[in-house]
């Protein structure tokens, strides 16, 4: 009896602890909880557009700090998957969790972005009328409310952060140039730089080397490999050579669901994968 009482008392004391933050009182943008493993968790996700099943019972888990490549033929649902994760498209069915605390299906794009999911588009999308520094400044993690944005000034810390990112993406020499006049490759790096300014936990990168020259591709590969570890990075890519050069884990999507998963060597020797890729090629040829 007395034993039970004392545990009860302990519980009460624990409950009334002055520094305790109740879950419902915690700020919505609390840090991502990855104690239970994955940073991104998709379960049984399906979405269809006008009868076309873009994503079909997709299951995918990304671990914290992982660099994952996602490959698949055209129409495999790669971009749709990114749309679902970033809140642009709502799935018909399934669950999407960021860490074990944030249900992404209840949030919209800005909320998801502010939680720490950064996204690079397939077509490089930078603010062409602004210069490189300004592009990075806008992406910098921080206050997003209208009034605060109106009064915001770039402080030393922010400037230092911009310099650091400029260094990382190799655009220090172009800092005052308009983003609109950068080369295609430079725009891609600038966009990756903008993602870094957000200090994301998870980076979603859609076809980062499309239209790049060979040396540019090598630089991008080095950049992405460096980022993994600090952030989790998910790269969607067509170019198999590029994927081979950066990937540790590869997921193959086909017709909206996972066809195979493993190291590049495992995956490329999988007969089903060969069928999807080579079979398609033969038909095309």
């Amino acid at each position: 009896m007395s034993v039970i009482d004392s545990t009860r008392f302990d519980r009460l004391r624990e409950f009334a602890r002055p520094d305790r933050v109740f879950d419902f009182m915690a700020p919505a943008q609390s840090p991502v909880d990855v104690r239970h493993g994955p940073i991104l968790y998709l379960e049984d996700v399906s979405v269809s557009f006008d009868g076309f099943q873009a994503i079909n019972r997709l299951n995918l888990t990304i671990d914290d700090g992982e660099l994952r490549c996602i490959i698949g033929p055209n129409g495999a649902g790669k971009t749709t998957m990114m749309d679902i994760i970033t809140g642009k498209t709502r799935p018909d069915h399934g669950q999407v969790w960021f860490g074990s605390r944030h249900n992404l299906l209840t949030l919209d794009e800005p909320q998801i972005a502010n939680l720490g999911i950064g996204r690079k588009f397939q077509k490089p999308t930078v603010f062409e009328a602004l210069d490189v520094t300004e592009n990075l400044e806008l992406a910098m993690a921080g206050e997003r409310r209208v009034w605060k944005t109106l009064l915001a000034r770039l402080d030393h810390e922010g400037q230092a952060r911009i310099d650091e990112v400029l260094e990382t993406i190799g655009l220090s020499g172009e800092r005052y140039r308009l983003a609109g006049v950068l080369s295609h490759g430079q725009k891609q790096w600038l966009e990756i730089g903008m993602l870094l300014m957000q200090r994301p936990r998870l980076l979603l990168v859609d076809e980062p080397v499309a239209g790049m020259t060979e040396p540019e591709m090598h630089r991008t590969a080095a950049l992405l490999t460096r980022l993994a570890g600090q952030q989790s990075v998910v790269v969607v890519e067509h170019d198999m050579g590029f994927v081979r050069s950066i990937a540790r884990q590869v997921t193959v999507l086909h017709q909206g669901s996972v066809l195979a998963e493993g190291t590049m060597d495992d995956v490329s020797s999988d007969p089903r994968v060969v069928e999807v890729y080579l079979g398609g090629d033969e038909e095309a040829a």
Partner: protein, 363 residues
């Protein structure tokens, strides 16, 4: 190579609040106003004398410039093309009209509160502001953009025109509000009042210009330019695009309301035709002609087009709309940046020329 870089660099000096173009525009406005006042004070026999009618006309131009500024803030910098800004202008005008009416005879019902100037002044800001808030909230939350937004703003102003045409509205029906005699206890017909309204309108343009300049050079201004060019990207870096749009739309509507309130006592009437879709479109033409996304361009556009209108409707009234349409087509085809674009290209060339000269000298 170096000249190439210079041409492609953003002119950082223009980002400061006190940029050269801000100072120049402010100076031109102030000096222009002073010159008109001095010339107006000259004896009527003098060849340089500016009549009260002209002063009043210029005061009316000022209110149009204010309206153009409001449209440019959201169209030029945020990419929201409102084809119904005349509605906000007219609402400000009606608020002022009610106040002016109340000075001669007491108004019925709720309108009686408009007897008091502070209430009327508040209504000038709040009526357009609230309408913009509700309308904008619904539209931007549902992500209505581009031409669809433009169309519903046309519908908005058209619906208001129909509503204000009805006598049951208590706003004078199709005649509108007229019979204005007194403002703040002074006769509207007096010479001093004409000058005072001219000065007030000029000051309003100056203040609104500074306000818009402060907004556009701030980080919010850069977020809005970013929204104009790549809205989805802005959303994915975490800004609430709908809030940004709503905030600027409301500010813009309030500026338009003030413009309407200053317009009414100078023109002596406000009627539902101000809500006409055509008027709102005309405002957009002013801004396009002057040069969108430059504040001085909007001011210049409103002034130039309205001056032309005054002159040409006198000479050949039937041709005016054709001339306006022709101008719009020509500017869109030949000068997509408007008059301001010509000025800045010319200035840029001169600056780069100077730079080149210096380089040649040093080499």
């Amino acid at each position: 190579m170096t000249t190439q870089t210079f041409l492609h660099e953003r002119d950082r000096s223009r980002q400061a609040f006190l940029s050269r173009s801000t100072l120049l525009t402010s100076l031109v406005l102030i000096v222009g106003m002073l010159v008109v006042l001095v010339l107006n004070a000259l004896p009527e026999s003098s060849a340089w004398h500016v009549s009260n009618a002209t002063v009043s006309l210029l005061g009316k131009y000022f209110t149009y410039m204010l309206l153009a500024l409001a449209v440019d803030l959201i169209w030029g910098y945020l990419g929201i093309l409102s084809l119904g800004h005349g509605a906000f202008f007219a609402l400000g005008g009606y608020a002022m009209g009610l106040y002016l009416n109340a000075q001669t005879s007491p108004l019925p019902g709720w309108q009686s509160i408009m007897t008091y100037f502070p209430v009327a002044a508040l209504a000038v800001l709040l009526a357009p502001g609230l309408l913009a808030l509700v309308f904008g909230w619904l539209a931007f939350r549902s992500r209505v953009t581009g031409v669809y937004f433009s169309i519903i703003t046309q519908a908005l102003t058209f619906a208001l025109m129909l509503a204000f045409n009805r006598n049951e509205m208590g706003m004078g029906g199709s005649t509108g509000l007229t019979r204005f005699y007194e403002l703040l206890g002074f006769s509207l017909a007096s010479e001093g009042m004409t000058v005072a309204l001219f000065v007030a309108s000029g000051m309003a343009v100056l203040l609104a210009f500074w306000l818009c300049q402060a907004i556009t050079v701030s980080r919010l201004g850069r977020v809005s330019v970013a929204t104009r060019d790549a809205e989805a990207r802005v959303r994915f870096i975490g800004y609430r695009v709908d809030h940004v749009k709503l905030a600027l739309f409301v500010v813009s509507a309030m500026i338009a309301g003030v413009a309407g309130a200053l317009y009414v006592p100078q023109v002596g009437i406000i009627n539902p035709s101000t809500f006409a879709p055509l008027f709102s479109i005309e405002v957009v033409v002013w801004v396009a002609l002057g040069g969108r996304a430059t504040l001085y361009g909007a001011l210049l556009g409103a002034l130039v087009v309205n001056y032309l209108k005054t002159v040409l409707t006198g000479v050949m009234p039937d041709a005016w709309l054709f001339i306006l349409g022709g101008l719009f087509v020509l500017v869109t085809m030949l000068l997509p940046q408007g008059i301001a674009g010509v000025i800045s290209t010319w200035r840029g060339k001169r600056r780069d020329g100077e730079k080149q000269d210096r380089q040649e000298v040093s080499a």
